[in-house]
């Protein structure tokens, strides 16, 4: 190890320092929103050291346990943007609901650090540890509203599911270690070709439970609606975007680096899980009345779509498509949750029928919500359309035509429940005509989410280039 290794992990050190600094700021000031503002500034500043990594070649640092490559940088950028937006939204949403406002922002930044570590780990112990890191902070954040029974339920449920999933995943890791005698992913990759097959299959199946929990893939999805419904809305937004993205990062790195050289057929397994997740998530989303539960089921179905990109990893479309999808989905999903947060705060309800007449009461938010709903369906020219286009192209390119057809059919089904929200906002008569107050910070977060959704949809080339270079650098 040399001093240059430390330079390579400056973004991580910065995030850790920022989180601790936020705790100090919280101690010294009575204006808690200041802590949130400092958090956003600090997160935006971290883009500078992250950006400086873009020009460097792919390598591992600190005794091979940590990757500095385009793939990790991509997820660093995604995590930082998502965290900054969620903090912005929470500045307006949280006051009056919890007494521990400053700690909330600090915990969010800590979670960001865990997610960044998850996406770049090249050692199974570090991977397990960072997943545990993210889980621990997420449990606390999900149960943050202590007076709210639903939030308590969300915290406890998330904890129980998460602990079980982690235990099973660790068992899978231990079998992998037993088969190859190393904890380093690249070392394992060299030895995995000689490993006996049945045990390797078992180890991968067990590992999938941990990753599947994080990305809320069927059959590890049951926690999703209850946790999203009960958790504070910004936290639900964060879990459905950043936590899911980091789960995908860890899954893709594991599958491509370790499992693929092991000459076993994992593509069909992932393809089937993808089809089941898409379909089940969609069908369960249809009857939902609560917007957060609807978004939860739709996020299960989007996990299925993203898995198409994992299954179709060969060629030029699958993996770049996965990254583009994740980035576009991040803006759209965050935006949809922010509108839900706004309505939940102003009207005190999460029911879709209560969105009636929103187009007249809060025209900007309603218009943005309509854009987000269309984007989640996959209409051009929005960000999720580009992502869907790429992963479906990847599926066809990889000979998974049936999976692409399942994907298209599911997109059509999903239009029904997404359009239901638009219908409520624009067609149904309003219960009252009083305009809704739209708080400033939440509006800024919403605006950025809407801008991201449309910009990626209209001019995707920079993102495509970024995703392409990120994937090229994945294999060392």
């Amino acid at each position: 190890m040399s001093a240059s290794d430390l330079w390579s992990i400056v973004p991580e050190l910065w995030l850790a320092g920022l989180a601790i600094f936020l705790l100090l700021v919280d101690l010294l000031t009575a204006r808690k929103s200041l802590v949130g503002v400092v958090a956003v500034m600090g997160l935006l500043l971290s883009i500078i050291p992250i950006g400086s990594l873009l020009t460097q070649g792919a390598r591992t640092v600190i005794f091979g346990s940590y990757a500095v490559d385009g793939f990790a940088v991509f997820f660093k950028i995604l995590t930082v943007i998502a965290t900054a937006l969620v903090v912005l939204a929470a500045i307006d949403w949280l006051p009056g609901r919890s007494q521990y406002e400053g700690e909330f922002y600090a915990l969010l930044v800590f979670t960001a650090l865990g997610l960044v570590l998850m996406a770049a780990s090249t050692d199974i112990i570090l991977l397990a540890l960072s997943i545990e890191f993210v889980s621990l902070t997420s449990y606390v954040l999900a149960g943050y509203l202590k007076g709210d029974v639903k939030s308590n339920e969300a915290g406890v449920k998330y904890f129980l599911y998460g602990a079980a999933a982690s235990a099973v995943m660790l068992f899978g890791f231990s079998i992998l270690y037993g088969l190859t005698g190393s904890t380093n992913l690249y070392e394992i990759a060299r030895r995995v070709a000689n490993a006996p097959l049945p045990a390797l299959y078992l180890s991968i199946a067990l590992m999938l439970s941990g990753f599947g929990f994080k990305i809320s893939m069927v059959p590890f999805h049951q926690w999703t609606p209850d946790v999203y419904e009960g958790a504070p809305t910004p936290v639900a937004a964060y879990l459905s975007v950043a936590s899911k993205a980091a789960g995908f990062a860890a899954l893709v790195r594991m599958l491509m680096v370790v499992v693929d050289p092991g000459r076993l057929n994992w593509i069909l397994l992932i393809a089937v899980l993808s089809a089941v997740s898409m379909t089940l998530g969609n069908l369960l989303a249809l009857p939902q009345r609560n917007i957060k539960r609807m978004l939860a089921y739709s996020s299960i179905s989007h996990a299925g779509f993203l898995l198409i990109g994992v299954a179709a990893f060969r060629g030029d479309f699958g993996t770049p498509g996965l990254l583009i999808y994740l980035l576009g989905y991040m803006f759209t999903q965050l935006g949809a949750f922010f509108v839900a947060a706004l309505i939940g705060q102003q009207l005190g309800t999460d029911d879709i029928p209560d969105y009636a007449g929103l187009s007249r009461r809060a025209p900007v938010s309603a218009l943005l919500m309509a854009v987000f709903m269309l984007s989640l369906t996959g209409f051009p020219p929005t960000s999720v359309f580009i992502g869907k286009f790429y992963v479906l192209a990847g599926a066809i390119d990889n000979g998974l035509l049936w999976l692409a057809i399942v994907g298209v059919v599911n997109s059509v089904i999903s239009l029904y429940y997404y359009a239901g929200v638009i219908r409520a906002m624009y067609v149904m008569p309003a219960a009252s005509t009083v305009p809704l107050r739209e708080p400033a910070a939440l509006q800024v977060a919403l605006g950025i989410a809407g801008l991201g959704t449309l910009l990626i949809g209209l001019y995707p080339q920079p993102i495509i280039d970024l995703a392409r270079s990120a994937v090229l650098l994945l294999r060392i």
Binding site: F63, S65, Y66, F110, F133, Y139, V140, P198, L202
Partner: protein, 170 residues
Amino acid sequence: MPEARCPGGELGAFIILSLVTLIPAVVVVTSGNIVRSALSLIPTFLGVTGLYILLHAEFVAGIQILIYAGAITVLILFVIMLTQGGSGVRIRQINEQVPLGAMAAVWLGFLILLVVFRTPWQIDATSVPQYNVSSVGTAFLTDYMLIFEVTSLVLLVSLIGAIIIARREE
């Protein structure tokens, strides 16, 4: 195992230690009395310690006794004592889904056993890794340095989270 001069003895020790680990573990998750659950953890932890010794991991075994059998159990008992109405209350740990869960567990266990017995494990008889204090310390500050440092952050975050959950809202 290079030092297994008496393979039968090692197998016997393994079976006894497994039983010492597993039987109290079942009590932990089924007993209605939370104090009994907590105390049943002690033989479980000691059984695991025995397994570590069987694997020539003496240092880890010592840590296991110090931290798990000692500190963690005492901590759990303290928590029960300080929680209002925690002790003496009978808590039902099972519900109507037990048959379903048992079926899933038996099926998974069967699957794992099947795979374990069908796998031709490659046993490398030449290298037993060093498990003493200095080699563990060296590993912490070389290959596993980042992991070691991140662990301290995880502990810090858990502490903050625990305080937030435990403190009373005013």
